[in-house]
C-alpha cells in the first residue's frame, strides 16, 4: 500500500530577506548541465513541483490522493538532494487554486512556464503517473521557466510491488535534477537491504578511532594534517608528563632515602644535613607531582577535544530516504510571505 504521508506544515521560523530575482540563479544561465554544488542555501534555485496527475484509462488505478502522496515522496527526495530550494507545495496548490490552474489541465510547457513565472521560480517539475496491474509508469518534466524550455525529461517504468515504484520515484528525483542517485537508493532498487557500507566513513567511526588514539579519527577522515597535530600534541604532552613523572619518582626515592637517614641521624649535624636534603626532595616531589597531574589533565583535555573534533568534522549522516523518514525539517519558499521558511513535517504512516 502506498504510504500515506501527511505533511503538517508548520511555519515556525521566518528566515532571511525575501528572495527576489531568483531567475538569475538559473543554472542554465551559467551554462552548467547539473545544478551548482557550491551555491549557498539562499542562492539555490527554487523549484516548484506540481502534483503528478493520473494517467491511463479511467477509472484510474491510482487515486488523486495516491498521486499526491507520490508527489510528496518525490518532493521530499528533491529536498534531500540539497541542490534546490523547494517551493512550498501547499502554498503552490493554493496559488494554483486562486489563479485557476488545474494540474490535470496544465501539462503543456507553456502553461507550466506561466505557472513558473507566476510563482517566480527557476524550474517547475510536473509529471504523470499510471498504474496498470503491476506496472507503474511515471513521466516527469523539468521546465526551465526563464529559458522557456524543457530542461530535462525522464520516464520510468516499474513492474512489481509499489515499494519498488516508490524507490524509482526517489531515484527519479535525483535524475531529473541531473544528479547521481545515492548508492543507498541504487542498492535499494537492486533489492539489497539497506546496510551501512563498511567503507563509508562515519562520524561515529571517527569518534571511536579518536577515542582509541588521538588523531586516528582525523587520519581516518583523510585529514592527516589535523590527525598528526592531535597525535603530536598528545605525544608532546605525554613525553612531558613522563619526564615530570620521572622527576617525581626520583624525588620520591630521594625523599625516602634522605628521610630515613634523617630519622637515623644521631647528631645534630647529620640531622640538619639530611633534614635539608629531605625537605628539598619533598619540595621536588610535590612540584613534579603537580606537573604530572596538570599534564594529565591537559592530555585528557586534548584527548576529549580531539574526539569532539573528529566527531564534528566527520561526514554528516546521510538523510534517510523519504519513505523511511518520519520527520523532516525542510527549507521551502513561501510565495505569500515572499520569504524562505523552515517546514517541519511528520510522516504519519
Amino acid at each position: 500500500m502506498i504510504h500515506k504521508v501527511l505533511y503538517l506544515t508548520v511555519f515556525c521560523v521566518l528566515m532571511g530577506v525575501p528572495l527576489s530575482g531568483q531567475d538569475t540563479l538559473s543554472t542554465e544561465a551559467s551554462g552548467q548541465d547539473t545544478l551548482s554544488t557550491e551555491a549557498t542555501e539562499s542562492e539555490l534555485p527554487i523549484v516548484a513541483i506540481m502534483d503528478f496527475i493520473q494517467k491511463g484509462t479511467y477509472p484510474y488505478e491510482i487515486t488523486i490522493l495516491e498521486a499526491q502522496t507520490l508527489t510528496n515522496e518525490f518532493a521530499a527526495q528533491v529536498i534531500q538532494t540539497g541542490k534546490v530550494t523547494l517551493y512550498d507545495q501547499a502554498g503552490m496548490r493554493e496559488v494554483m487554486d486562486q489563479k485557476g490552474f488545474v494540474s490535470s489541465e496544465c501539462t503543456d510547457p507553456k502553461c507550466v512556464r506561466e505557472l513558473g513565472q507566476l510563482l517566480n521560480v527557476a524550474f517547475v517539475i510536473n509529471g504523470n503517473v499510471e498504474k496498470v496491474d503491476s506496472m507503474f509508469t511515471v513521466n516527469a518534466f523539468m521546465v526551465d521557466v526563464a529559458a522557456d524550455s524543457i530542461k530535462r525529461e525522464k520516464n520510468v517504468v516499474h513492474v512489481g510491488e509499489v515499494d519498488g515504484f516508490i524507490t524509482e520515484i526517489e531515484i527519479l528525483a535525483w535524475e531529473i535534477l541531473g544528479l547521481p542517485p545515492p548508492n543507498e537508493l541504487l542498492r535499494k532498487r537492486d533489492g539489497e537491504m539497506a546496510v551501512v557500507d563498511p567503507s563509508e566513513k562515519t562520524r561515529m567511526g571517527a569518534l571511536t578511532l579518536s577515542a582509541v588514539l588521538p588523531g586516528l579519527g582525523q587520519l581516518y577522515l583523510d585529514n592527516p594534517g589535523m590527525g598528526y597535530v592531535w597525535m603530536g600534541s598528545e605525544i608532546v604532552v605525554g613525553v612531558l608528563a613522563y619526564m615530570s613523572f620521572t622527576r617525581y619518582k626520583t624525588a620520591y626515592d630521594d625523599m625516602d632515602y634522605y628521610f630515613y637517614q634523617y630519622t637515623k641521624a644521631t647528631n645534630p649535624d647529620e640531622a640538619r644535613e639530611f633534614r635539608i636534603l629531605s625537605k628539598q626532595a619533598e619540595l621536588d616531589e610535590t612540584t613534579a607531582k603537580d606537573e604530572v597531574q596538570s599534564l594529565i589533565v591537559v592530555g585528557a583535555g586534548l584527548w576529549v577535544a580531539n574526539m569532539v573534533h573528529a566527531y564534528m568534522t566527520g561526514p554528516k549522516p546521510k538523510a534517510a530516504s523519504a519513505s523511511t523518514q518520519k520527520t523532516a525539517l525542510d527549507f521551502v519558499y513561501n510565495q505569500k510571505l515572499m520569504q524562505p521558511q523552515l517546514r517541519f513535517s511528520i510522516a504519519l504512516d
Binding site: 561515529m204 569518534l207 571511536t208 577515542a211 582509541v212 617525581y248 620520591y252 625523599m255 625516602d256 628521610f259 634523617y262 630519622t263 641521624a265 644521631t266 647528631n267 645534630p268 647529620e270 640531622a271 640538619r272 633534614r275 629531605s278 625537605k279 619533598e282 616531589e285 610535590t286 607531582k289 604530572v292 597531574q293 594529565i296 589533565v297 585528557a300 584527548w303 576529549v304
Partner: protein, 178 residues
C-alpha cells in the same frame, strides 16, 4: 556507543585515580636542632633517642638518654619520670659520652616511677662537650597504651668544679605498647 561509554568511564577513572602519592613527613628527630627549637628545646639539653618507641605488652623498649650540644660538662644528673603502671625499668647502662681514658662514676636509682642516673668524672680536669649518650635505659611495657617518659627539673649538668650549667631544654619520649 557502549564501548565509547566504557572508555569515557575508564578515562574518568584514570583521571580521578591519578592522585599521586607524596610523603607527609614529620621532622621530629630528637637531634634535629630546628625541630627541637619548634618544641622549645634549645641546647644545652637532655633528650631521649629515639623519642618514640613502639613495643608490645611485655616487650622491651630501649631509650637513650642524650646530652645535646653541651659544653664543658663534667657530670650529669638525669632524673626521669615514667608511668610506673605501664612501664618498669629493666636495665640501665652507661652511655659512651663519658667514656675516656678515665672511667667515670656511673650509678642509677630506680624508685617506682622515678629513675635517677648519675654520671660524673672524678676530678675537675676532665669534661666533655658536644652531643652524646649518657645512659641506655631498657623499659618493660607492663600495660598497653602510651607512656610518656620525661626529665624532671631536678636534672642538671655540672661543669668543672661542680658548677651547675643551665639546661635550656628537656626532651621527652613516648613508649607505645600495643
Amino acid at each position: 556507543m557502549r564501548w565509547i561509554k566504557a572508555q569515557s568511564l575508564l578515562l574518568l577513572f584514570v583521571l580521578l585515580g591519578c592522585q599521586i602519592e607524596v610523603h607527609d613527613a614529620t621532622y621530629d628527630n630528637p637531634f634535629d636542632l630546628d625541630a627541637n627549637k619548634e618544641k622549645g628545646i634549645i641546647p644545652p639539653a637532655l633528650i631521649f633517642s629515639p623519642s618514640r618507641v613502639k613495643t608490645s605488652v611485655g616487650g622491651s623498649a630501649t631509650m637513650n638518654i642524650f646530652a645535646l650540644e653541651v659544653s664543658g660538662v663534667g657530670g650529669v644528673h638525669a632524673q626521669v619520670n615514667y608511668d610506673a603502671t605501664k612501664l618498669s625499668v629493666t636495665s640501665v647502662t652507661a652511655g659512651s659520652f663519658f667514656s675516656s681514658t678515665q672511667s667515670p662514676l656511673f650509678m642509677y636509682e630506680d624508685n617506682n616511677g622515678t629513675l635517677d642516673v648519675y654520671v660524673s668524672y672524678l676530678g675537675p680536669e676532665i669534661t666533655v662537650s658536644g652531643t652524646g649518650g649518657i645512659a641506655v635505659v631498657v623499659f618493660n611495657a607492663k600495660a598497653s597504651g602510651e607512656a610518656v617518659v620525661r626529665y624532671t627539673a631536678e636534672s642538671e649538668l655540672l661543669g668543672s668544679n661542680d658548677v651547675p650549667i643551665k639546661l635550656n631544654g628537656l626532651g621527652q619520649g613516648v613508649v607505645n605498647a600495643k
